[in-house]
């Protein structure tokens, strides 16, 4: 009898073990920056767990996500999904074999069906797909509608019109552009990339990025001189000193309360604009940043990228999550619920129809510009790391009068040539 009991217990134990084995769960880990973005994105991303109980996503909040991820991955650990701040960061990880090529997943899971062609090209390293770009961004010129109407101004279309309007705005006692870099010093680079695209033209920027012309080209000098002139005139933030001390909330409040008339900033600003302008009761709208020729140019930027860690024990499951996350449905939901910059995928018109028309128009116009050869380049997406840091660090020395525009561009040219020779340039889509 005693032996029977033991046998029965053993049988139950074996059954329990086998049942547990049958319900094996594969956990895909993702590290994400703590804060309000995660508060909104997190619950949507975790909806992935409803699809297949056997594959579950675990989001691990991190204070300094990129540095934590980089260190962990180099040390042989890290999350299954490796997020980087942009395509230029992917190159070295791919070269070191720290992330996996994803071509087989792209083919089997049909990523080319919903990603724009050029977007998948951004993730190529030596012809293999190592990353998927996320958070499509562009810079536009926001303006305070109430201020414009009260003064009878119309948004400028060309750089000459902008110069004339800027003088009028300043003379009327307004700050021309609500700005400041105290919260995010690299914001300097937004203007460098934007003025190069709008004044030198996207084709010249392309040539410089591919080494066909130097950064000291006349067109680049002209672009940087116009930017410097705007800075010296105190158009940004009310003066150079103030530009260096204005914090993010000040920047937003200046446009919302009508202290400033305009603001050149990325599509990410829309999230805050809605809040600040709802408080002030003043209306906002946007136009494309005026160009030298009057053509609507939109710079393309990517907020971050996703790859699969070479140390991942289950890359297939990680690819499953990426397929779901980058699907137009998920991206559409994150856009409408969180105003997240969508990945470069074809989101349905129905989803776009639910958005504030001003927001929907940003992405529609950007899409149109990219399809019609009117797209430009953001520095953090298309420039290699050392040149990128040089762009936003050293340009302050131009604005503070320590070096000339020519000296600045010579320095950039020298550094860029080194990185070009070393093959550190992120993928530049052919045009």
């Amino acid at each position: 009898m005693k032996h029977l009991k033991i046998l029965a217990l053993l049988a139950i134990l074996l059954f329990a073990i086998s049942a547990a084995g049958a319900q094996d769960v594969t956990t895909v880990t993702l590290w994400f920056a703590e804060g309000s973005t995660l508060d909104c994105w997190g619950p949507i991303m975790l909806e992935f767990n409803d699809i297949d109980p056997a594959v579950q996503l675990e989001i691990v909040p991190q204070a300094d996500t990129w540095n934590a991820t980089r260190t962990a991955v180099v040390g042989g650990g890290g999350p299954d999904i490796v997020r980087t701040p942009g395509p230029s960061f992917v190159y070295e990880m791919a070269q070191a074999g720290l992330i996996l090529p994803m071509d087989t997943f792209a083919e089997s899971m049909g990523w080319s069906d919903f990603f724009f062609d050029w977007a998948l090209d951004l993730g190529l390293v030596d012809g293999q797909l190592y990353s998927l770009s996320d958070e499509l961004e562009t810079l536009v010129m926001y303006y305070n509608v109430d201020v414009f109407e009260a003064n009878g101004w119309t948004p400028p279309e060309t750089m000459d019109e902008l110069n004339a309007l800027g003088e009028e705005v300043a003379a009327a006692g307004y700050t021309v552009f609500s700005h400041g870099n105290a919260s995010w010093r690299p914001s300097n680079e937004w203007f460098v990339g934007e003025y190069m695209t709008q004044i030198a033209g996207p084709h010249n920027v392309y040539k410089a990025l591919t080494g066909q012309i130097p950064w000291t080209d006349e067109s680049m000098v002209e672009a940087m001189e116009v930017l410097d002139a705007h800075m010296q005139a105190g158009w940004y933030g009310g003066g150079i000193d103030l530009y260096f001390t204005n914090e993010g909330p000040t920047r937003r409040a200046m446009l919302a309360d009508g202290t400033a008339a305009m603001n050149i900033e990325g599509s990410w600003a829309i999230r805050d604009l809605s809040t600040y302008h709802a408080e002030s009761g003043q209306d906002w709208n946007w136009v494309s940043v005026p160009s030298k020729t009057g053509a609507d140019h939109f710079t393309i930027g990517m907020g971050n990228t996703s790859s699969i860690n070479a140390n991942s024990a289950h890359p297939e499951a990680a690819a499953q999550f990426l397929t779901w996350y980058f699907s137009p449905e998920t991206q559409g939901k994150m856009l409408t619920n969180c105003l997240k910059g969508p990945a470069p995928v074809s989101i349905s018109e129905e989803v776009m129809g639910e958005l504030d028309p001003r927001i929907a128009k940003v992405y529609a116009d950007l899409s149109d510009a990219s399809a019609n050869d009117r797209y430009g380049y953001t520095t953090w997406t298309f420039w290699p790391p050392k040149s990128d840091v040089y762009i936003y660090e050293e340009v302050e020395r131009v604005w503070t009068g320590e070096i000339t525009v020519e000296e600045y561009l010579e320095g950039l040219n020298e550094l860029f040539a080194e990185e070009l020779e070393a093959g550190d340039i992120p993928p530049i889509p052919l045009r």
Binding site: A182, R185, E396
Partner: protein
Amino acid sequence: MAVLTQQKPTTVIEKLSDEIWRKKFLRNVIIPWVFIAPLLIIHIFVVAIPAVQGVYMSMTDWGGINPNVNFIGLDNYHELLFEDKSFGKSLNNNIVWMLFFLTVPFILALFCASMLAQIKRGGMLYRSILFIPYVLASVVTTTIWKNLLNPKDGIVAASARALGIEGFEVAFLGRTDTALMSIAFIDNWHFWGFLMILFLAAMQAIPPVLYDAAKIDGANRWQEFRHVTLPGIRPIVLFMFMMVAIWSFLAFDYIWLITQGGPGGASEVIATQLYKNAFQRFEAGYAAAQGVVISIFAGFIIMIFVMLRRRGWDI
């Protein structure tokens, strides 16, 4: 009468077979090493090995991500010392920073400590109030001061404006000529209370009879301070001189949180430049060389103090 004398063991075998010697050896040599061993092991793994690795990395072209590195000898040092103009500028800022912290907080702390040493009642309250900034996190301190110094809405500018006083609407942190000193001022606001407490504790250890003797000799307050207080606290003052000089080359958090070295490199110091090289430009090998150079500066400062000590200075 026979006199029994015990001979001291001389050979290793004699020593090991001698129980008294064994006990002494255990108590004086083995047990101290056993107690210190855990710390020593941790130190070897956490400090010594990474330090050696750091020196090696400084002679490579490591980018910080790719584990494949190339040994390039002293190229990073050559570039740092002879080609990188920004390094010279950062070093200059570090020296300015050091001169500021070797004077302003020391004068403030010595003055206030000597005043507080006289207070018999309520002294603890003053000490606590002056020490509070030291226990605040740097993020909190910098946020407070960035708001206070805001040229438009800051309390300093707004209060001056309300009182009709001109000249305070200055972007102290946004001007190349004031940024570094403004950050030093903020860091000092946080730091000097710590020095004051150290000096005060040292002053309270000075025997009161020395002051009584000075008074009998007709010394005034300044003479008491000059001939009794200062000699009495000299070891701690000199030690803090050395520490502050070393810390000046490690200055990072306040500068990073307020200007990140800007505007236009006006507040750039070696540590902020090192961080940018390692984590933004992906030149970890070059950054390691900068780290080694900082360590050499610190070693140089320590060497000066060791030499002074050998010459009889009471440090």
